[in-house]
């Protein structure tokens, strides 16, 4: 069973947002990394790029699959997780600890459109 963490916001395309100090840390969920298998590459935007809720900002690749990353919220990328460039497998080790981008959110009310841990857990169950 995939891990789900309380206090995060979840999207239907299996990204999460962790809100800390007003910033949104976006990554893929444990469920998503399980489905994907060994992550070999993370295609990330550049800092200062704009992301829009529901729109693609990058991709996560395994050997035989690739999954687009859709931003759960809108805003400006203030940092990317550079460690993933050399060690993409960190996503498999701990998807929640290894966020992909840090975003200065332009509209925090967008968080209300996302699922909480409980709803997401249900959502994952339905997927199976």
């Amino acid at each position: 069973m995939a891990k789900v963490i309380e206090g995060l916001y979840y999207s239907e395309s299996h990204e999460y947002v962790r809100v800390e100090d007003g910033f949104g840390y976006i990554g893929i969920t444990d469920y998503a990394q399980h489905a994907l298998g060994n992550v070999v590459y993370v295609d990330m935007p550049e800092t200062d790029d704009e992301v829009t809720a529901g729109e693609e900002f990058g991709a996560v690749e395994s050997v035989k699959a690739a999954s687009d990353l859709n931003s759960p919220v809108s805003g400006t990328v203030t940092e990317i997780n550079e460690a993933l460039e050399d060690s993409p497998e960190m996503i498999n080790q701990d998807a929640f600890a290894n966020w992909i981008i840090k975003v200065e959110m332009s509209d925090t009310s967008e968080l209300d459109n996302l699922m909480d841990a409980k709803a997401y857990e249900e959502f994952c169950k339905e997927q199976e």
């Binding site: 590459y41 295609d43 991709a59």
Partner: protein, 437 residues
């Protein structure tokens, strides 16, 4: 069935029908609506024996004229070592599929790795893919790649000295993706650097495409081009004749980001236009933007070194509409062809063949100018191909040469002819051609 490619005997057919539960071949198509069922006879000849097939092709072949080739324009009559055809015809290579099953495809994967290694050595670049169709489509793919890499810009600057046939293909691809192609002027047969600087300064440029040697055979000076492109966040794409790079300053040394071109000059038959092989090499940071297959090194579960198709998540069978390109097959067998060619010729042989071509072309150029009937078209260095102006009727001259067994160059303007010389051309052939003028 009584045909050599169909092994089914009447008893085989019966056993198979019984297993399937049908009574005839007809019944296997029971679900095809009658209205669209093909019931007639194809308008084709009846089956032919090999003797008859050979006779037909021999008759067709006799309708072609065998000419000694002094033409180029992207396709060159280079020498092919005997070994190359012998290897390429081996059915283990010829009749295999794309090497998806690495365990029984190491032959193919091995030579593609070698091909990639050799192409990067030749071009002075970091990375090569497993080949593309030809020089024109690889150039078009490079243009798409530059636009995809820039994310924001959809204009590419192309030098007016790029082969118009390549430009046509680039324009076709660009049109359908709403990519704008803007031309950079030429001065005396070479790219106008000042015009490049002017046009790139207007902004919005994803890439700059130049050719070396250019369409007119001129070896251009691309000093500073990479800096200009990079200062404007554009990629520099350089198209080159592969064989010439054994001697000429490489795309890597010019600072190009993507090197593309045709590998036909590495001993591949002219074959009326194909198959050839398109090469594409790039800087390491662009590897995941590259179209086409890529072979990488890894190891197997027995601890042996092994080769495998890699970075497949870029490709159409996984990414579908988000793939870097729609390309599926490459020109694998032609990649084998040039790999065996380069293995035999080696660094010394490639250089020697290129130097012979260079010497032959310059000898011919001097001879032609010496007749007093030709004048130089440009005052620029050239390699094994050059343009000269003829002070008579160009068409009549070329027809006269054909009657004497020569394909005497390509007419690139009303009174301008472009000649090419390779290591296959002899001094006698050149002297004879010149004597006919």
């Amino acid at each position: 069935m009584n045909y050599k490619y169909f092994p089914h005997t009447p008893s085989d057919l019966q056993t198979m029908f019984d297993k399937i539960g049908v009574k005839s071949l007809e019944e296997l198509y029971a679900e095809v609506p009658d209205s669209i069922r093909f019931k007639g006879d194809y308008e084709l000849p009846e089956a032919m024996s090999e003797i008859e097939v050979r006779r037909i092709f021999s008759t067709l072949g006799s309708r072609n004229k065998q000419l000694t080739c002094f033409a180029g324009a992207g396709v060159y009559d280079h020498y092919t070592p005997a070994v190359v055809n012998e290897i390429v015809r081996r059915s283990e290579f010829l009749t295999s599929y794309t090497p998806y099953q690495a365990e029984i495809s190491q032959g193919t994967l091995h030579y593609i790795f070698e091909y990639q290694s050799m192409m990067t050595e030749l071009t002075g670049m970091d990375i090569s893919n497993a080949s593309l169709y030809d020089g024109s489509t690889s150039t078009a793919e490079a243009v798409l790649m530059a636009v995809a890499a820039s994310k924001k810009c959809k204009t590419v600057l192309v030098s007016s000295t790029v082969d118009p046939k390549i430009l046509d293909v680039v324009r076709t691809y660009a049109h359908f993706q709403d990519i704008e192609i803007k031309m950079i002027d030429a001065v005396d047969g070479a790219t106008d650097k000042a015009d490049l600087e002017r046009k790139i300064a207007e902004g919005g440029i994803a890439g700059v495409l130049v050719q070396q040697p250019n369409y007119y055979g001129v070896v251009e000076d691309y000093e500073g081009y990479a800096d200009i492109a990079h200062a404007n966040k554009a990629l520099l794409i350089m198209n080159s004749v592969a064989a010439d790079l054994a001697v000429l300053k490489t795309p890597g040394e010019w600072g190009a980001d993507i090197a593309v071109g045709d590998g036909q000059s590495l001993g591949i038959s002219m074959a009326f236009g194909g198959p050839y092989v398109g090469y594409m090499c790039c800087r390491e940071k662009l590897i995941r933007k590259m179209p086409g297959r890529i072979v990488g090194m890894t190891c197997d579960n027995r601890g042996q070194r092994a080769f495998v198709l890699t970075l497949q998540a870029r490709e159409q069978h996984i990414r579908r509409q988000k793939a870097t390109s729609n390309i599926c097959s490459n020109e694998s067998l032609m990649a084998l062809f040039v790999t065996v060619y380069m293995s035999l010729m080696g660094k010394q042989g490639l250089r020697e063949a290129a130097e012979l071509s260079y010497a032959g072309a310059h000898y011919m150029y001097d001879k032609l100018i010496g007749t007093g009937k030709f004048t130089p078209a440009y005052n620029r260095p050239f390699f094994n191909e050059f343009c000269v102006k003829y002070n008579g009727n160009t068409d009549a001259l070329q027809e006269r040469l054909i009657n004497e067994g020569f394909f005497g160059g390509i007419k690139v303007a009303d009174n301008t002819i472009m000649f090419a010389v390779t290591e296959k051309r002899t001094k006698e052939e050149i002297d004879r051609l010149v004597s006919l003028i």
